[in-house]
């Protein structure tokens, strides 16, 4: 589907007025008129983002019972709870576009919705908890800091709220990484192995390269996105490499080098075939994640029913008393 902005603009004078508002830096609110494509793109992007937060609870939830200390366990529980909260902030923002929460949840459960490819990789060691907080949440911060200036008001406000909390996630992750990196040889090897496994999937989190990103042009024009995927990816690498060096680790990229002219850390080619496979549902954990999500939803059915019955009972009593 290639959008045709010229045709849209020709059809409806409101499009031009809408684009003028965007150009002037105004934010768009739920009751404002917006082109149907803008609404659809936002629903797609925001619901994928919300699903990612919810599915993102699973790889880390895997380690709560095996955290090495009470301090680490408390932090991890709080982080996983935050991810659930982030999903709720964004679902609530998505609903302002006129879509039902239940519909979005069903799309996730029946496998038609997409979510971030990163969460389809397994968490094999405790070091993964550190590396996820540091790299995965670090990448999310780079992405979300820019999204906090997105043109759709409810999305921007959800991002501001989320960014404040992500900094805790990143710091607790980096603390785990730094602790293991200066630990025993076995601990250092464990954390290096985790970096080796998570580095490339973290770079893939920013999405396809600009030359191959079907939605980017339109999203940039409407200021839903403020920077391209490649710009954000480069920013993440530039921020992260000094942090890698500070704890004496390396990234699995023989082509990595600093380019003094552009002040960028240049990195090697990304394996987009792997990215596409994971997106298509063939990553190492896609099926496991969805199965866990469905199980959680079904196992929570009785709680939802009980809350509904309780509310109905109280409603009935208050009507009878009146």
């Amino acid at each position: 589907m290639t959008p045709n902005p010229a045709l849209d603009a020709g059809e409806d004078p409101r499009v031009a007025a809408f684009e003028a508002r965007i150009a002037a830096g105004e934010s768009i609110e739920p009751k404002d008129w917006m082109p149907e494509r803008y609404r659809k793109q936002l629903i797609r992007m925001m619901s994928q983002h919300a699903h990612s937060e919810v599915v993102g609870m699973l790889p880390e939830g895997n380690w709560i019972t095996r955290a090495p200390s009470l301090r680490r366990k408390m932090s991890l529980i709080a982080k996983v709870q935050d991810e659930g909260g982030h999903g709720l902030y964004i679902y609530c923002g998505t609903e302002t576009l006129g879509v039902d929460r239940q519909e979005l949840v069903e799309q996730l459960l029946n496998g038609t919705a997409k979510y971030s490819s990163i969460f389809n990789y397994p968490t094999l060691s405790w070091a993964d908890m550190g590396v996820i907080g540091w790299l995965v949440d670090g990448a999310a911060i780079v992405n979300q800091t820019i999204l906090a200036k997105t043109s759709y008001g409810p999305y921007a406000r959800a991002m501001i709220r989320i960014c404040k909390e992500e900094n805790f996630h990143k710091r607790q992750g980096y603390e785990i990484v730094a602790t293991l990196a200066k630990g025993t040889p076995a601990q250092k090897a464990m954390v290096q192995d985790a970096v080796n496994r998570w580095w490339w999937p973290s770079l893939m989190m920013f999405g396809p390269s600009d030359t191959d990103s079907p939605n980017s042009g339109e999203l940039l024009r409407w200021k839903v996105k403020r920077k391209t995927n490649d710009e954000l990816r480069q920013r993440f690498v530039n921020l992260t490499i000094p942090q890698v060096q500070a704890v004496g680790l390396t990234v699995p990229d023989p082509d990595l080098r600093y380019d003094a002219a552009t002040e960028n850390w240049l990195f090697g080619p990304i394996d987009w075939a792997e990215f596409n496979e994971v997106i298509r549902g063939n990553g190492p954990c896609n099926k496991e994640r969805l199965a866990a999500r469905r199980e959680a939803h079904e196992a929570g059915q009785w709680v939802r029913e009980a809350a509904t019955a309780y509310a109905a009972k109280h409603e009935r009593r208050s009507t009878e008393a009146a």
């Binding site: 009751k31 404002d32 008129w33 935050d82 709720l88 902030y89 923002g93 959800a158 939802r304 509904t308």
Partner: protein, 95 residues
Amino acid sequence: MSDSQWPLWEVFTQGDHGEPFEHAGSVHAADAEQAMQNARDVYARRGEAINLWVVPSTAIVASAPSDAGPFFDPGNDKAYRHPQFYKVPKGVKVF
């Protein structure tokens, strides 16, 4: 019993004593009590609020952006409602 979607509630938080309540977002809940608990768990995990309001979303009446011009117009052309409208003798501290 099939899965039904609970009603939507808008959440307002007061950050500190003396501050106004601000819209934080929304939650789904079966009743007011659960809406309050969900609002606390979603919007006040780090001491962001000392008070909460939850309001059924259907109870909110909002102005229409398409009528914003004429609707707010009565407040836009009355310069005499601002202190800068008034001239005072030079050198006198009025406030």
